[in-house]
């Protein structure tokens, strides 16, 4: 572990740095303190990253990071806050690192680094993640610092910083077993993945992070493989160490980014730079491990830049991951990419996977630090918006699936509605048109076979056509009439009108009018024409009686039908609704009334109880104080129980209560008394008071027996000192009364009445533990007292005794020094065993009621 590089003194000072004063760091305590240090660093990182909301990402990161050494990477999430917070966070993350750098540099560098990093962090230059990361790293190995310091001055601004860090990381990386190679591996993988996953948002990240996870320490060089990143990496690696082609790199990275980014490269060069820089920082800050991979990481970030969200999360994750070196690679990469792409969205912690992928990048991306600072700044500014936007984006993506489902359901619903609507309309139309019916008439008539026989074809047709015409006309008339068209005053046509009409239709009809009507009469079926005679409701037998014709199948225009149907439906529905409403309102009303009644009754009972209480207490008071009258006027009772503002409201309840009392309460008697010259109805409490139920229910302080037998195991074999500290004899909060401590005194003396050696008792009234201090004449006496008291139950509490040093006792109670006369129980010593005499009036005299059985 890198921590082994930390000497004891360093560990000690680090712990002190956190405000925690450790004990000596010895061989045995070292691991414990290391853990503590790590935890403190984590906390600090979290605290720092929390500001940037990187926490979640960090958290997510870590798990995915898995194998990666967490290192200081988590610290880097929070770019904006990172600088200062990272530093401490770095420490923990460094744990995983094996720092190459010599330890000697660490403390100095670290401190210095942190110093100049923290102030500057929020700003661009400050952002240089490398510094913080370096600092963190150096915590353990001090290498970080050294590396940081070296590039430090140059790095301050972005590129240089990144490079410096990278340089640092490179040497460190070599030394370290972690992720150097892993970073590179991851880096490359990530690059590829990034390009691939541009649209994928995270899946790739996950992959990359995994990659990062299993990077092996050995392969530093492996990473150079994949195209885009490789080139950069190579360039970076040799250059990283203290090289200053940072600007170049950044540009390259940007360029690469564009290449790799392909699709939605959101990264614009400056952003890219920033990202790179950011990455760096993250890498540095967070894990500090892989410097080398920073470059690739930067590249990766480029590619990933389109994924703003990812970057954001990366950033966040980075921050969150503080303690996990494992995640370094992934986080670095992710972080960088997130920073990169986002430029404006520094933190999206949700993309832990992203961060993981970037982790490897992270370690390598010392180079792009320059852009980092810028990016960080931008990120800071736009974090909230970006996060929001990203969230929305994600939501959109997420909701696409559900979206279609939603649409589908809506579509089905509308289709069903349309279908039913169509059906209804068709029905109406069908009803309205009697065409088929009409046609039918011609083909088949209801007149029977006789008709066919009597007339020949043409005549038949004529007759039928006549009837048809008549039918239609009548239907029209009726329909028009029904639809409110007042053209025809009557729904039916008179005979003359019908004849006129028919004649106008066809001259040939003339002769057949009466015949057809005759046939209509003859047939019993309803042909759609109704014939009425002079006298209504009488069946017609002869054509001559026909006076009016009416259609029983009115033909109405479609709209009219529809309208009528609509109105019918509406009216019916409203009728039903009204009925239902009525019923429901009745039910509600009933419920309401019922509830009111309940409430009233309850209040009444409540009032009754209060009256009883008042009366009872009054009567008791009367017993004690003979000056009072044993009855109370009713109005007075009422006015004392009911607030003035409620009096009106409670009037009814009061009266009910009164009635109830009169009827059901036997202990209260209503009588009339003259008070002050006026007659009052009074209540008198007539129950003889119970004796001393109050006092007897009070808790009396008694010794209640022994809990365990005292033997060698639970008590000292011999009494050590003459002073005892007795615990758990009382609870200062619960004690009431003036002299309960005296009661305690008495109780103790009672218990130890066979022991004449108690010279001083002091009750510590304020102690939560219920401590009582006792001094005896000698150790022997105290031993006896010990045996008597230790493990006994007193007042429901288990008493424990222990010995106190004499000088301490005297320190505490100087007055005890001079006391040498044995104390005695003030009340006549009641034997503590076996007596059951309870003296009621000695309520608080525990001794009085001792019923302890030893």
């Amino acid at each position: 572990m890198a921590s082994t590089q930390l000497t004891d003194e360093e560990l000690f000072s680090e712990l002190k740095h956190f405000g925690f004063t450790p004990g000596p760091v010895t061989e045995n305590t070292r691991p414990v303190y290391l853990k503590k240090l790590k935890k403190l660093r984590d906390e600090q990182q979290q605290r720092g990253s929390r500001a940037g909301k990187t926490r979640s990402t960090g958290a997510i990161h870590s798990p995915s990071g898995g194998g990666n050494t967490a290192g200081p990477r988590p610290a880097s999430h929070d770019v904006t806050h990172l600088s200062s917070s990272r530093r401490p966070g770095r420490k923990s993350s460094v744990l995983g690192f094996s720092s190459d750098e010599s330890d000697a540099e660490t403390p100095v560098n670290r401190k210095g680094r942190q110093a100049d990093r923290s102030p500057g962090f929020p700003q661009h230059p400050k952002i240089r993640p490398t510094t913080p990361s370096v600092a963190n790293k150096s915590q353990y190995g001090a290498t970080l610092n050294s590396t940081n310091s070296s590039p430090g001055p140059g790095r301050q601004r972005g590129v240089s910083l990144g490079w410096g860090v990278r340089a640092r990381s490179s040497p460190e990386a070599e030394g370290k077993d972690y992720d150097e190679s892993g970073d590179e591996d991851d880096y490359e993988g990530e690059i590829e993945k990034n390009s691939r996953s541009l649209n994928g948002c995270g899946a790739s990240h996950l992959n990359t992070s995994k990659l990062a996870g299993d990077y092996s320490d050995s392969d530093e060089e492996e990473v150079r493989g994949p195209g885009v990143g490789d080139l950069q990496q190579e360039r970076l690696v040799p250059n990283v160490r203290r090289s200053h082609p940072k600007a170049e790199f950044a540009f390259h990275v940007v360029g690469r980014g564009s290449q790799t980014g392909g699709a939605a490269r959101q990264v614009n060069p400056p952003e890219g730079l920033n990202m790179v820089g950011n990455r760096r920082e993250e890498g540095e800050g967070g894990k500090g491990k892989r410097r080398d991979s920073d470059t690739p990481g930067g590249l990766r970030s480029h590619t990933v830049s389109p994924r703003k969200t990812i970057y954001v999360s990366l950033a966040e994750n980075h921050g969150g991951e503080a303690g996990k070196n494992n995640h370094v690679d992934g986080e670095d990469g992710a972080y960088r990419s997130s920073r990169f792409a986002i430029g404006l969205r520094p933190r999206f912690s949700n993309y832990s996977s992203l961060s993981q992928t970037y982790r490897s990048n992270h370690s390598n991306h010392t180079a792009p630090n320059h852009s980092y600072s810028q990016a960080v700044l931008k990120q800071k500014l736009s974090v909230p918006e970006d996060e929001l936007l990203q969230q929305f984006k994600r939501e959109e993506v997420a909701s696409s699936g559900s979206f279609s489902a939603h649409y589908l359901s809506m579509f089905l619903l509308t289709a069903a509605c349309l279908f039913f609507l169509l059906l209804g309309l068709m029905y109406l139309r069908m009803r309205g048109s009697g065409s088929s019916e009409v046609d039918e008439v011609i083909k088949s008539h209801p007149f029977g076979s006789e008709f066919d026989e009597l007339y020949n074809k043409t005549e038949k047709d004529l007759i039928l056509k006549l009837l048809l015409n008549l039918h239609d006309h009548l239907a029209q008339v009726a329909g028009q009439y029904d639809c409110g068209d007042q053209q025809h005053l009557n729904r039916s046509l008179s005979m003359a009108e019908a004849s006129t009409y028919l004649r106008s239709q066809n001259q040939d009809f003339d002769g057949f009018i009466e015949t057809s009507l005759e046939w209509i009469i003859r047939t019993g079926q309803d042909v759609g024409i109704r014939l009425t005679g002079q006298v209504a409701d009488e069946p017609l037998t002869d054509v001559s009686e026909i006076s009016r014709l009416e259609s029983s199948h009115p033909k109405m225009p479609f709209t009219c039908r529809f309208r009528r149907a609509f109105f019918t439906v509406i009216s019916r529905v409203s009728l039903i609704a009204v009925v239902v409403g009525c019923v429901w309102s009745v039910v509600c009303y009933m419920k309401f009334r019922w509830r009111r009644e309940e409430e009233d009754t309850r209040q009444m009972y409540d009032m009754v109880e209060r009256i009883i209480d008042v009366l009872r207490s009054h009567s008791e008071a009367c017993q004690e104080n003979q000056d009072l009258q044993p009855y109370l006027p009713i109005p007075h009772v009422r006015d004392s129980l009911v607030q003035p503002q409620d009096r009106k409201k409670m009037k009814k309840i009061w009266e009910r209560a009164e009635k109830f009392l009169a009827a059901n309460e036997s202990r209260i008697r209503k009588e009339t008394q003259r008070i002050g010259g006026a007659d009052f109805l009074v209540w008198r409490w007539i129950q003889p008071s119970l004796s001393c139920d109050k006092t007897s229910s009070m808790n009396s302080k008694v010794w209640q027996g022994k809990a365990f037998p005292l033997d060698r195991r639970n008590s000292p074999p011999n009494s050590l000192t003459p002073c005892l500290k007795i615990r758990n004899m009382f609870d200062p909060i619960m004690e009431v009364g003036e002299n309960w401590d005296l009661a305690i005194h008495e109780a103790i003396l009672e218990k130890c009445n066979d022991n004449d050696g108690i010279v001083h008792i002091a009750v510590d009234k304020n102690s939560r533990e219920g401590c009582v201090y006792v001094k005896c004449l000698s150790a022997e006496h105290s031993g006896r007292a010990f045996k008597a008291l230790h493990g006994s139950w007193f007042d429901g509490k288990l008493v424990t005794v222990k010995y106190l040093r004499l000088d301490r006792y005297h320190q505490r109670f100087p007055q005890a020094q001079g006391s040498s006369t044995p104390l005695k129980a003030s009340s006549p010593p009641l034997s503590t065993t076996g007596t059951m005499n309870t003296v009621p009036h000695l309520q608080h005299r525990g001794a009085g009621n001792s019923s302890g059985f030893s």
Partner: protein
């Protein structure tokens, strides 16, 4: 009764003297053996460690866990036992 075990009570009732590490509450045979292997063969050595850690609960627990893989309950018992002993006799 309090929630401490008999072992705890026994330990806390008197100065530990040369009691073996098994006498500590929470430390049974297995843990005791592990501690002894690490060099903590007497209760007072563990006490020493406890004091070196400044009687800090968390640190002591961590140490116990690291040293002999004590579980949470055992850690708590041991810590409580030593703490009380210190309160009583130190």
């Amino acid at each position: 009764m309090s929630s401490t075990s008999q072992k705890h009570k026994d330990f806390v009732a008197e100065p530990m003297g040369e009691k073996p590490v098994n006498a500590l509450a929470g430390i049974g045979e297995v843990l005791g053996k592990r501690l002894e292997e690490k060099g903590f063969d007497k209760a007072y050595v563990v006490l020493g460690q406890f004091l070196v850690l400044k009687k800090d609960e968390e640190l002591f627990r961590d140490w116990l866990k690291d040293t002999c893989s004590a579980n949470t309950k055992q850690q708590g018992d041991c810590f409580g036992c030593l703490k009380e002993w210190c309160d009583a006799f130190l």
